[in-house]
């Protein structure tokens, strides 16, 4: 499957573009984690424009924006990927199992899922974040995925249901294949593309959510990340002067670009999981 993926990416320009963008940000995050914190503060150089010295200008305290962006990419991506992974995994496990088992247990699980689904996500997240004061990215990821898994679980379960009655699953049962095997090897590949897409788009959703939280100032933070940049910028007069434009737009642009990258890349996923769509 992975080999097939590379072939598919190579053929599809948009998928390739998406892939490159993602790799670019991934690289940025890796570099960002290696950068030492920047203590060079010179208030006199506040909100300088783009120049050769500071490629994206400076922030409200004179630090180089570009460096902030790079350093800030790491926590953002870590939390987002973690949150999406948790949501996707939990959603898959619950949806697939529920759909496969059927009956009373399925109905019970779906009732619970529905209840979780009706809880408004962002307000709940804000509430939880306001009394759990932890800067640990894992904790934040967990909080973000508290309601995220429900919608995904529901749709996975409908897909599982429609597949579960198909004859090849009957054949699998006759062969005596185990529940886990049926779940992972028989059922999952048929939902794989949907799951992968949800995972990637879930990352973008999580980025928005966490940046939103930091922007609003409800989430505790340490160091800097894209959302924090926007928050501190606004708190320090960025809205009062047009010269803060590079500083404010830089994280926004990054977020949007990253999302475009993910969306383009997901085009490659459908043929990867569904052999019929491959043009080999």
């Amino acid at each position: 499957m992975i080999r097939g993926l590379w072939r598919i990416i190579r053929r599809d320009r948009q998928a390739m573009a998406g892939f490159c963008i993602i790799m670019f940000f991934l690289g940025m995050a890796i570099v960002g984690s290696l950068l030492p914190p920047d203590y060079y503060e010179n208030p006199l150089q506040q909100y300088q424009g783009i120049s050769w010295h500071h490629l994206l200008g400076t922030d409200y305290i004179g630090r180089d924006t570009l460096r902030e962006i790079i350093a800030g990419s790491t926590p953002v991506l870590i939390v987002a990927v973690l949150a999406s992974s948790i949501s996707t995994f939990v959603g898959l496990a619950i949806g697939l199992s529920s759909g496969l088992v059927g009956g009373f247990i399925d109905a019970l699980i779906m009732r619970i899922t529905d209840i979780v689904l009706t809880i408004p996500g962002l307000p709940l997240t804000i509430v939880i974040v306001s009394f759990i004061h932890s800067t640990n990215p894992v904790v934040l990821a967990l909080i973000l995925s508290v309601t995220g898994w429900a919608g995904f679980a529901r749709s996975v379960r409908s897909q599982a249901l429609s597949i579960a009655r198909r004859e090849y699953l009957e054949a699998a049962k006759v062969q005596g294949l185990t529940f886990v095997n049926i779940l992972t090897k028989q059922l999952f590949p048929n939902i794989g593309s949907y799951a992968a897409m949800s995972f990637l788009l879930g990352i973008t959703g999580a980025i928005y959510a966490e940046v939103g939280l930091f922007l609003l100032g409800v989430a505790p933070f340490s160091g800097s990340n894209w959302g924090v940049m926007l928050n501190l910028g606004m708190a320090n007069g960025a809205m009062l002067t047009p010269s803060s434009a590079p500083y404010m737009f830089a994280p926004m642009f990054c977020i949007v670009l990253l999302q475009v990258g993910f969306v383009l890349f997901t085009r490659a996923l459908e043929p990867m999981f569904n052999p019929r769509l491959r043009t080999s």
Partner: protein
């Protein structure tokens, strides 16, 4: 040793199957014939453990299959395999041929990961399919209907079962392949004592395969006639069997003309209710008694039974 015997089965409001008793031993063939919708596939699925009968029991080696646990259940699962009727929906489109075939083998530990490739190649070879690496990587949508059916057969054979429920297993194959596959299955029966529940609506195939063994004719869920295959085909003793057989055209026009077919009443619906013979609506030989009482299976010859009150009225000797 007897593998399976059912006492009665009924499912759903309108009974899909009624009161069937059957016994299949090692090295045995039971052919099941009947028109579409008569319950043959359901019966196959019940034997394979996919459907729980609403009443009655299915026994494997003397034990009720749905009560088996753990390794005993695993043994049952391995011992009874099903060849599906529809080769298009019974193969997982996301799995390659190798994945599909190796799954069961690995599950029942019939080969290690290193040996399984050989086993798969072996079974493919036996059903007459290529077994090179390229072919094994193919997906179901790349196969023809006949190839798919052979894959289903290979999948069933791969687990070295004791009983195979073959539901229209050769219907999509061309005639030369059919004979080859049927011969292969017969060979396996001889060499390994494999048994079959051979479901079909094609009498020609049934006669070739089940010659010398038992046949049961099903009509709307009830066994209306059973006996030794050649005897039942030559000398049907139930109006339905007679009608079915006379509908099979024979190549020799002289013999065709000589046959006397039973004329059925044209009513198409199924049985009226739970009482009486299910065939009463269409049977030209029926009378009031047939509408009231369900005829039991009575002996009409050696090892030959018919569920009719008037088996003697059925024309003697269909084939001169």
């Amino acid at each position: 040793m007897s593998h399976l015997s059912h006492q009665y089965d009924l499912s759903v409001k309108v009974p899909t199957l009624r009161n069937i008793d059957m016994n299949i031993g090692t090295d045995d063939i039971v052919a099941l014939v009947g028109e579409s919708g008569c319950g043959k596939t359901t019966m196959g699925k019940i034997i394979a453990g996919l459907v729980r009968p609403t009443s009655g029991s299915v026994l494997f080696e003397g034990q009720e299959i749905h009560r088996l646990k753990g390794s005993a259940f695993d043994r049952y699962r391995r011992a009874v395999q099903l060849i599906h009727q529809d080769p298009y929906s019974s193969l997982n489109p996301s799995l390659s041929l190798f994945d599909t075939l190796s799954a069961g083998i690995l599950r029942h530990r019939l080969a290690t990961r290193r040996e399984v490739l050989e086993r798969v190649a072996d079974v493919l070879h036996r059903v007459g399919l290529p077994n090179n690496a390229d072919f094994l990587r193919r997906y179901p949508h790349q196969f023809s209907g006949g190839q798919r059916q052979c894959v289903l057969i290979a999948r069933a054979l791969a687990l070295q079962p004791m009983l195979i429920v073959a539901d229209e297993a050769v219907s999509m194959l061309d005639v030369s392949m059919r004979v080859a596959i049927l011969d292969l299955l017969l060979e396996l029966k001889r060499d390994e004592g494999l048994s079959f529940l051979f479901i079909s609506h094609d009498f020609g195939v049934v006669r070739y395969f089940a010659s010398g063994h038992r046949i049961a004719v099903l009509y709307f869920g009830a066994v209306v006639e059973r006996g030794i295959c050649d005897e039942v085909i030559a000398n049907p003793r139930h109006p339905y069997t007679h009608a079915l057989l006379s509908a099979v055209p024979l190549p020799d026009p002289r013999i065709n003309r000589q046959r006397q077919a039973l004329r059925l009443k044209s009513v198409e619906e199924g049985p009226k209710g739970q009482q009486g013979c299910p065939f009463v609506q269409r049977c030209p030989l029926s009378d009031a008694r047939c509408e009231r009482e369900m005829p039991p299976l009575v002996s009409v010859g050696e090892g030959h039974q018919s569920a009719c009150f008037y088996p003697e009225r059925v024309e003697q000797r269909l084939y001169a």
